[in-house]
Amino acid sequence: MSFPGVLDIDWNVMAPAVSLLITAIVALVFGLSARDSRGPAAVALIGVLTAGIFAVAHLFSGNESAASFGLRYLGDVPATALTLVILLGTAMAILVSWDQLERGGMGQPEYYPLMLLSALGAVVMASAGDLITLILGLEIMSLPAYALSAWRTRDRQSEEAGMKYFLLGAFGSAMLIYGTALLYGASGSFVYGAVAAALQGGNLTLLATAGGALVLAGLGFKAALAPFHQWAPDVYTGAPTVVVTFMSVVIKVGAFAALLRIAATVFPALQPWLLTALAVIVALTLVVGNFTALMQRGLKRMLAYSSVAHAGYLGLALLAANHGGVAAAAFYLSVYALMNAGAFAVLTLVTDASDHGDDLERFAGLGRTRPGLAAAMAVFMLSLGGIPLLGGFTGKVLVFQATIDAGHVWLAVLGIATSVVALFYYFRVIAYMYFRESSHAPHTFRSTPARVAIAVALVGTVLLGILPGWWHTLLSVGPRFLAGY
């Protein structure tokens, strides 16, 4: 029996994922004897930083076409860069959870191991070079997310969030698996590049396109693209805010990393109506996300719809995947991870221990009572809204530019128009913080790790706004590496 080249394991490529796995197990064992949840948090943070060092070392080693297991696990620039974004989001979530878990009575020892395993799944999704690896990464990412959504004991809302997320997530997974089966049936391969190559001359594109549509729907559930976004508001509202900090960043990055790779390789080989369907989905997401966010009073629910809207902007990049859209989306995801996690970090310090009290009224007068927090929140809101000199603006410009280059001018116009609508609900938060008298005393809960997270997010958001060049240049490699062949 001879072993073909599929057993070529490049440990530099695997190192971030392996460090996360080992850290999860260490944190799990360590957590059994730990007094409270801060010890495992420190272990988890060290593990994430180790994985980050490996990823950075690989990113700057210049070995852009590295891969393991044949082309099933890729270590190209998009994969490594998005791995870094996932690790950043995970580190922020750990810092935000540091004191908050004990405050909310949620310090079961499995919290951090599950979070690390979920991050591992997202890293696998970002690095996957074939559909099987993608499905397994998606499941490894999702299972802990379902459990963490229901983390608050004996809280009906939290349990409902976990259950709802689980059922709809399982439905999405089923569609993804069915679509994968059809794609395999049409092409005889799971590896993205080989699927695209097999479909080029074949006569089974209709079958493959049906599979591609199901794959798009399945991943659309995870990415919260309308009309598959229905779970997002309820899960974001019901789940503990610290978990939402994690989910809103890491799961979104994982889902879009996979979507980008498929959109750049497999979709061009399919029938063009699939891209039209994707354009309609993206347009719907932009409109539904932004206009529904306008009507929300609770900040968590507003941020949930805002995350749907941001999925729409990222969806624009999917349509332009081979016109610089990948680099634009990777940049957008980096900024999104910083500003969104930052906004949720502020939210954890302002709301009650039970996460209740996220109403806009709660933010009234925050500019006077807690000026530091209010200023940070204002920057995150401005960046989410896309105000120049902040990271969110640069990300939007890059995405719109890629969309226009790809010839979807009307979608770019729709994106710009909905961005203006979005400004209204982001500005409303700032207006409440600075121009309203507070009706009740603010919380005095303070947490140094959460402050560190907010500071990191703040610096990153501003830095990517005024000096976007270096990171974008690093991300701007051609689609050749992304294709995985």
């Binding site: 599929v6 079961q108 395993l117 397994l136 802990p144 459990a147 608050r152 089974l204 209709l206």
Partner: protein
């Protein structure tokens, strides 16, 4: 081909039964039918090892677990009133459209099945050897990832179930959220909840 059509019809009927039957036990039995028909299909495709595994693992172990859970939870088939009346017809319509779409794709792009010799050559007699070879070469990464997935699932499930038992960590109960040191209140709520869980079906 005739055998396949009969088996496919059985599988689809079982699948529809799982979705539509009111009694959970009946639905589980319909699922057994589907799984067994699938096992027979594997036999007709010369995949004997897979067929045996299908019967032992799915139709055997997993179904027994399903039935145990159904009996232990004492779930009855009562309906709890539909809040969204339009949902059921909409779901049927969506399912119908999906099936029709896939049927159209199937009839437009039918392919002849590969000959028996090709299948036999690829499967190597349907034994475990060929499966093991593929599993530990081509799909080694997937094999390892499934291991990680199972570990994840176990940790997630245990962490959800374990904390519901009030005596393990009473001070972390949800009822004591505002005042963390009230074990009495927390375990009280827990007992009520477990009670609901056991006797809820009566």
């Amino acid at each position: 081909m005739v055998a396949f059509v009969i088996l496919a019809a059985l599988m689809v009927a079982g699948g529809v039964g799982v979705v539509t039957l009111r009694q959970p036990v009946h639905a589980a039995l319909a699922l057994v039918g589907t799984l067994l028909a699938l096992a027979v299909t594997y036999v007709t495709l010369q995949a004997h090892f897979l067929a045996a595994i299908q019967v032992i693992v799915y139709a055997g172990a997993i179904m027994v677990l399903f039935l145990f859970v159904i009996m232990l939870l004492n779930v009855s088939g009562e309906r709890t009133g539909d809040r969204l009346k339009w949902l059921k017809p909409a779901a049927w319509a969506a399912a119908g459209v999906t099936v029709a779409g896939l049927a159209v794709v199937y009839f437009l792009q039918r392919q002849p099945l590969p000959g028996a010799a090709v299948v036999d050559g690829a499967l190597g007699g349907g034994g475990a050897e060929r499966i093991g070879e593929v599993l530990f070469t081509d799909y080694l990464l997937a094999f390892q990832l499934v291991g990680v997935l199972l570990l994840t699932g176990v940790i997630a499930a245990v962490s959800l179930v374990q904390r519901a038992a009030p005596e393990t960590r009473p001070q972390r109960g949800g009822a004591a959220r505002s005042a963390p040191h009230e074990p009495g209140a927390a375990s009280g709520a827990g007992v009520m909840r477990d009670d609901e869980l056991v006797h809820g079906g009566h």
